[in-house]
């Protein structure tokens, strides 16, 4: 179980592969379509949805503005209630803190409730390197882990799998990880869930240490909140002797009453439910238990320093943007090369990791047609298209010292388009070409206009799949002048 996103190709190449997988395309279209319809229905029930979105965005923005104060407050509240607070600058520090706690307790396995932060830092792999096995207990995470696979959705990590594939994974891989799947396992969802339940129960009852994330951290009371659907979170948080929570520093909300807004926004946006089945809250250490909280930066302060991009830290990981994104729907999550896929991943990864360093990360802001469906769906009003365009400019600026063909083309276009006389001349050239090509062009497009043939690169990127109408003999500008309209 060592699948990793490290070394993933840039988005266009990864997407090309995904697009040719017909099974994946069908699974994704079905799943996102279903969640999209459910979400739209329950969001439609709330009259003041827009006011809630505005309130959610405002709370997050205000909190981020004074993040330092709120974090110190959180540390104080947690410490007062018997928890140990650790600060981690990056993934390596955070993983080392968790591993050392495991070692102090002589633990060689931990159970995990699904946590994006621990996936982000590669905790499972880091623990494995120190001889500690981490067991995922969320059903979809279990499927991904047993299948030696990678998550492809924030909320439904195994969205790319259908139930026949899940049955195969359980039948082939469960035995090696613990309790085997029943011999006569079918692909009925209830049977699959039953097999997972028995398999996981052994792990819950045996494990002495658990690792969690947190959806929210309330500064005033030192309360961590985990929202989930299966009850595995509750098992992980109550049964083991040691609970270690890895929490991104942007998860903070100042007061308990701020939570109210998010507990309304989150379930409707993510699973399309009015309320999520399990909400676990705990403040510090409960009796007989040891509690640790690792407050994780890992690029968050970098994102915070970006005036346009910082709004991405409002994200509550609901995945609504993934489910409405036409690009995600066709390429799936793996193409984004990160545990944060889809539109939010396309901005969060460059913000957390920085632009101009890695081709894969630099390709992400371009993995969007800027259609704006993500902004419309976002419960905390992150203007993802705005941030995408902003990050594209950062990618371009980072490479200005070594200009690519594209930069040269853009510079020439800018020169031509800055002056109507230059544009007029360029159009005359295009018109001449049109007259020539119109004579040779054999194909007539619907409506009667002639089409060009297949173009050489880079025009082929367009003409491989799409006909191109031949340029008109006369531009609008030339017609206007000829008509003497001025």
């Amino acid at each position: 179980m060592s699948a990793t996103f490290v070394g993933m190709p840039a988005f266009p190449a990864a997407a090309r592969e995904a697009l040719s997988d017909t099974q994946l395309r069908r699974n994704l279209a079905h799943a996102t379509g279903t969640i999209r319809a459910k979400r739209a229905a329950v969001v439609g029930e709330v009259d003041e949805w827009e006011e809630l979105r505005l309130a959610g965005a405002a709370i997050k923005d205000n909190t981020l503005r004074h993040l330092d104060e709120h974090l110190l407050r959180l540390e104080e509240s947690l410490t007062d209630r018997g928890a140990t607070v650790h600060w981690a600058r990056d993934a390596a520090e955070a993983c080392e803190i968790v591993a050392s706690i495991a070692k102090q307790h002589a633990v060689d396995e931990v159970v995990k409730v699904k946590s994006m932060a621990t996936q982000e830092i590669g905790l499972n792999e880091a623990l494995a390197a120190q001889g500690i096995t981490a067991w995922e207990t969320d059903l979809a995470e279990l499927i991904v882990q047993l299948g030696d696979d990678l998550p492809s959705h924030i909320l439904v990590p195994a969205i790319h799998r259908n139930r026949a594939e899940i049955r195969e994974i359980f039948r082939d891989k469960m035995a090696a990880a613990g309790r085997p799947a029943p011999d006569d396992l079918s692909d009925r969802p209830a049977e699959l869930a039953g097999a997972a339940r028995l398999h996981l129960r052994e792990k819950f009852l045996r494990a002495r240490m658990a690792v969690s994330g947190a959806n929210f951290a309330v500064a005033e009371t030192g309360t961590l909140v985990v929202v989930e659907s299966e009850g595995n979170g509750r098992m992980c948080l109550t049964l083991p002797e040691v609970v270690v929570s890895v929490v991104g520093i942007e998860k903070i909300v100042p007061t308990w009453s701020d939570l109210d807004v998010f507990l309304q926004l989150l379930p409707r946006s993510s699973t399309g439910e009015r309320m999520n089945p399990y909400t676990s809250t705990w403040s510090g250490a409960t009796e007989g238990q040891e509690a640790h909280v690792v407050l994780l930066d890992n690029g968050r302060t970098r994102a915070l320093a970006d005036e346009v991009g910082r709004q991405a830290l409002r994200c509550i990981r609901c995945s609504a943007c993934l489910n409405v994104c036409p690009v995600y729907e066709r390429t799936g999550g793996h193409a984004y090369g990160s545990v944060y896929p889809g539109p939010i991943g396309a901005i969060l990864n460059p913000l957390l990791r920085g632009t101009g360093v890695d081709d894969q990360v630099d390709s992400l802001p371009y993995a969007s047609s800027l259609c704006g469906a993500c902004f419309e769906a976002c419960p905390v009003r992150i203007d993802i298209p705005e941030v995408l365009v902003h990050l594209r400019s950062k990618v371009v600026d980072a490479h200005r010292s070594a200009p690519k063909a594209e930069a040269v083309a853009m510079k020439s276009a800018s020169w031509v388009l800055a002056d109507s006389k230059r544009l007029g001349l360029a159009e005359r050239g295009l018109g001449l070409a049109g007259r020539l090509l119109g004579r040779f062009g054999r194909k007539v497009m619907p409506g009667g206009r002639r089409a060009l043939g297949r173009l050489p690169w880079p025009g082929s990127l367009w003409s491989n799949a799409r006909d191109v109408p031949a340029p008109p003999v006369e531009s609008f500008r030339a017609w206007w002048r000829r008509e003497g309209r001025r």
Partner: protein, 244 residues
């Protein structure tokens, strides 16, 4: 009211008939509009690809070309959106305060064609005639960036002879997305293929939209697949009369 038409660079160079249709239509409605010949492009291709420095001279040319008009009408939701939402970003980046001030003055005067017809002129029946089965694709920027709502449909419903059929999944992006269409060509065409399939499902003869850039993409796919469905800009449909 002094009205100018921003024909847009793609219409100027590739779809002059759309520009002509806008003038025919406006004249029929009693508006004598100008074509300021100094105009070129709204700079969206540069901005959306991340070349903000390269966008500065183009935005400067735009505000100079359209200075002094009360309304600037454009047959493109995408270009109108770019002017309203992106010109201020480009101006801020340039550090030129005079440019920022001119942009702030010009941007609010830009209207997408259907906004101008419905909101400013107050008409939905423009006296058009187009005896064909038509389906309408609301382009993303018209739909979400501008929020033109059902204005185009209200205009189309008043066109005599026109049989308007609903497009399934109309609000889904066609996959054009400017340079996205070549930077992520395969994903773009996968999205466009689904759009083309929905168009075919309607049995329409003509696909209409308010942006020729999206139509260049969808029309290119429809043509390559030899579907026989033609694409037309909304302005050309609205410009048609029984005598034309």
């Amino acid at each position: 009211m002094k009205v100018a038409v921003q024909v847009t660079c793609i219409n100027d160079a590739m779809f002059p008939d759309t520009g002509k249709a806008v003038f025919t239509l406006l004249r029929r409605l009693g508006v004598e509009a100008d074509f300021p010949a100094a105009q070129t492009c709204c700079a969206q291709p540069m901005v959306n690809t991340g070349y903000l420095d390269e966008a500065v001279p183009v935005v400067r040319n735009f505000v100079d070309a359209f200075a002094g008009y009360d309304a600037i009408v454009t047959p493109s939701g995408s270009c109108a959106g770019s002017v309203r939402h992106q010109h201020s970003i480009v101006a801020r980046r340039s550090g030129d305060d005079r440019l920022a001030a001119t942009v702030a003055e010009t941007s609010p005067k830009v209207y997408e064609l259907t906004e101008f017809l419905v909101d400013v002129l107050g008409v939905t029946d423009v006296g058009a005639y187009f005896p064909h089965r038509v389906t309408y694709h609301p382009t993303c920027h018209s739909l979400r960036m501008l929020g033109v709502g059902d204005r185009p449909l209200r205009l189309l419903r008043e066109v005599r002879g026109l049989d308007l059929v609903e497009l399934p999944a109309a609000d889904e992006c066609c996959g054009f997305g400017g340079t996205f269409a070549v930077k992520n060509a395969e994903t773009s065409t996968a999205m466009g293929a689904d759009k083309a399939r929905h168009v075919l499902d309607t049995g329409a003869e003509v696909l209409v939209a308010g942006d020729n850039s999206c139509l260049l993409h969808i029309g290119g796919l429809l043509s390559r697949q030899r579907t026989g469905v033609r694409v037309m800009h909304l302005a050309e449909v609205l410009a048609g009369t029984e005598s034309s």
